[in-house]
């Protein structure tokens, strides 16, 4: 490879609205263009709303390595990785983590296959890539395990509309009306997928209703990506007799999400696996204290700005949440630390880290 490339395109298995990896890809494109590269996004699948932002993978230009580099956004197994590997240009990989197959394959066998393929493709990506850029140190460690000789950490470029949107007035009024009846508002934000373990949040919430706050409400926000799992959750809350206290809000707009963050008293996360967990940072930005199960990249994201639990025992989670709700000093300290932590994950900081990692890779390639 000689000289600086002219093009720096991105390859992504699929691109969609309201998706953290997709948003990161769009921001990466912006950063690449600001670096002076011609940069386009080539996706194997795209949702209708993203047609204007991406081109079909089949149209990926095949230039030589001195003119064109590629960045692959790895979050799942896909034939797009094979197209990326076979391309003659220089390469870097951005790794968003891939959920371990055992956590999802029982509910979604096809997704299990895809994530298994993704993990299988990582060493192949390592063999052809100049560097692996991870959105967390945890992910960087996984990249090194997969064989990446060089890694860098550049945090996720998050959708600022989830931070800065004005709250949707209707939803805000609705939540405020509910709050006036008393009780605290628990919140969890994340796609309804098995590894997010909504059932563990529900179990803790059921304990809290029983022991601490019978008027509390639980809001579960996120796309219902696994219908069987969602049905099981509905049946679970009916079986427990707490259906009237649990709100399945589904996928919401940024403005509605802001309304939920503003109304929430605590964010409770019991996920079994997270490569970064953007909702934690969003909650911190909105001044919502966080109680989370310490697994994968979650401790790195939370640090000391939330309560990290080493167990998901329902009463322990409920007690920790209640402590955050009850102890005003603790709450305010967590809110302050959370806001500070959220500032460190600003778009500018993430972009600077990404650009630095990329420049280093280009320099190494000569």
């Amino acid at each position: 490879m000689t000289g600086r490339p002219i093009r720096f395109d991105q390859v992504i298995p699929s691109i969609a609205e309201r998706d953290a990896v997709s948003y990161h890809t769009l921001e990466t494109q912006r950063a690449l263009r600001e670096m002076g590269f011609v940069s386009e996004i080539f996706a194997r699948e795209m949702s209708p709303g993203m047609v204007a932002h991406a081109r079909p993978l089949a149209e990926l230009p095949r230039d030589d390595a001195s003119r064109q580099w590629l960045c692959y956004q790895a979050s799942i197994g896909s034939p797009a990785a094979e197209a990326f590997i076979a391309h003659p240009g220089g390469k870097v990989v951005t790794y968003h983590n891939i959920t371990p197959a055992p956590l999802v394959e029982g509910w979604m066998p096809f997704l299990g296959e895809e994530v298994r393929l993704g993990r299988h493709q990582l060493p192949e990506l390592a063999a052809v890539s100049e560097t692996g850029i991870a959105v967390s140190k945890y992910n960087a460690a996984e990249l090194r395990e997969a064989g990446f000789a060089t890694t860098a950490v550049a945090s996720l470029m998050m959708d600022r509309s989830n931070f800065d949107s004005a709250a949707e007035p209707g939803r805000r009024a609705e939540l405020a009306a509910a709050k006036r009846t008393g009780g605290s508002d628990w919140l969890f934000v994340g796609q309804m997928l098995p590894h997010k373990c909504h059932q563990d949040v529900i179990k803790a919430f059921a304990c809290s209703l029983r022991v601490f706050d019978p008027k509390a409400r639980l809001h579960l926000i996120g796309r219902e990506s696994c219908p069987g799992y969602v049905l099981a959750l509905h049946r679970f809350i009916q079986d427990l007799g707490i259906a009237s206290s649990v709100d399945f809000a589904g996928s919401v707009s940024p403005a509605e999400l802001t309304a939920h963050y503003q109304a929430a008293d605590v964010l409770v996360c019991c996920s079994a696996h997270e490569g970064f967990c953007a909702p934690i940072i969003e909650a911190m930005h909105h001044g919502v204290p966080v109680v989370a199960y310490a697994v994968a990249a979650v401790p790195e994201t939370v640090l000391d700005a939330g309560l990290l639990l080493s167990s998901k025992e329902p009463l322990l989670v409920a007690t920790a949440a209640e402590r955050v709700l009850r102890d005003r000093l603790l709450r305010e300290v967590l809110v302050d630390r959370g806001r500070e932590r959220a500032r460190r994950f600003s778009l500018d900081a993430a972009r600077v880290a990404f650009v630095a990692a990329l420049e280093e890779a280009l320099e190494r390639a000569g």
């Binding site: 002219i6 263009r33 002076g36 011609v38 204007a52 081109r55 230009p61 029982g106 209707g170 009024a173 609705e174 009306a177 509910a178 059932q199 304990c207 029983r210 022991v211 601490f212 706050d213 019978p214 008027k215 069987g228 799992y229 969602v230 049905l231 099981a232 509905h234 049946r235 679970f236 809350i237 079986d239 007799g241 009237s244 206290s245 709100d247 399945f248 008293d265 000391d304 939330g306 990290l308 639990l309 080493s310 167990s311 025992e313 329902p314 009463l315 322990l316 007690t319 920790a320 209640e322 402590r323 709700l325 009850r326 102890d327 005003r328 000093l329 603790l330 305010e332 300290v333 967590l334």
Partner: protein
Amino acid sequence: MNGPHPDGAGAARHEAANRRPDAVADEKAGLGGAEESIDTASVVAEAFAESARLRESGALPSGFEADLERRFLAIARDPETLAKEAAAGASSRSGSAGNQGSGLRRLLPRVAQRSRRAAGSFAHSTRRAAAPRVRSIERSSVERAGRLAETVVTRGYVAVDHANRLATDRSSGRLFSRLARVSPAGRTRPPDRPRPSWGGEGPLAGETTGSDPANGPRNAQRELEDWAIERLGRAGGGPIVHVECGDGALVRRLAGAGFDSAGADPAGDAVRGSPAVTTTDSVVRAGALEFLGSCSRSSLGGLVLSGITERLSPGRARALTHLAATRLRPGGVVVVISAHPDNGAGDVVSADLSPGRPLHPVTWCHLLSRYGLAELTVNDPVGQPSHRYAVAARVPGAGR
């Protein structure tokens, strides 16, 4: 399940929690350095101890937590069946006859939830019901304002273009009146010749820009022009105009192919000195924006844009595309011919829409589609020594 607190302490804690958010805000000033001394690990350890104490004290019925786990596992023991039931529930909601029971089971909690919301805030529901209409009105108003602003801006660019050249050749008047006389169906393009044959022979051979088609390989420019003529042959009739036509060679080729063609170019000397221009009313001395701004709406059957396409500021690019889209008839075809911005090894084009630069084909596609043109096609012969490309698009409607 939602029973009363097991003890008075729980109620007291609950009361304290409800008092928390705002009532204590003004106490914050007195917190001092205590904030920094809080160790979350210690707090978690205390939470562990507290939860153990609650268990021992019987705050929860014996085996309550294990029962939660058992109940969920019982429900989730067969994910495959759940997935099928969820799918059946979805289909029953959409009108399918089968498995309505499971569909209802899934639907009922949502209905109940919505009912609670509606009962909780009727006024809010009313506002929400009206919200789509309000949003629609807002959206259409914004769109109208946007269109108006765009038209004003485009007219500004036209005026600037006009002022830059100071005065238009007298022949423009004759050309405009000639365009106005053209019948809606297009009067001159022969219906039996939709796609002219350009093989390098025939009466027009040798009239291309700088090529020797009879004795050498067809050059890239001529191939692009051939492609443009083929695309223009798909238009639904009406005059074809080449803006920034240079010496008018393509205008003449188009005329030779049976199109009612004309050209415009701001360089009067080039137009007058052109051996290719044989009729004074075929080419007008006018800038691209100036010329298009003077044409009536939906008056042109086809449009070839070149020259100006290589030195556009973002605003001028939008104005040019706006004018092209509005001056073409339904079915009309526009062909953009431009140098490729990647042309020239090592010269990185940092941004497509930087002033005075050629655009990428994909940028033209974006612009043209943004202004309502469709059937976008790109002819991008990568590897040519002088890398040029063409993009064609058509106004939706009649045509071939």
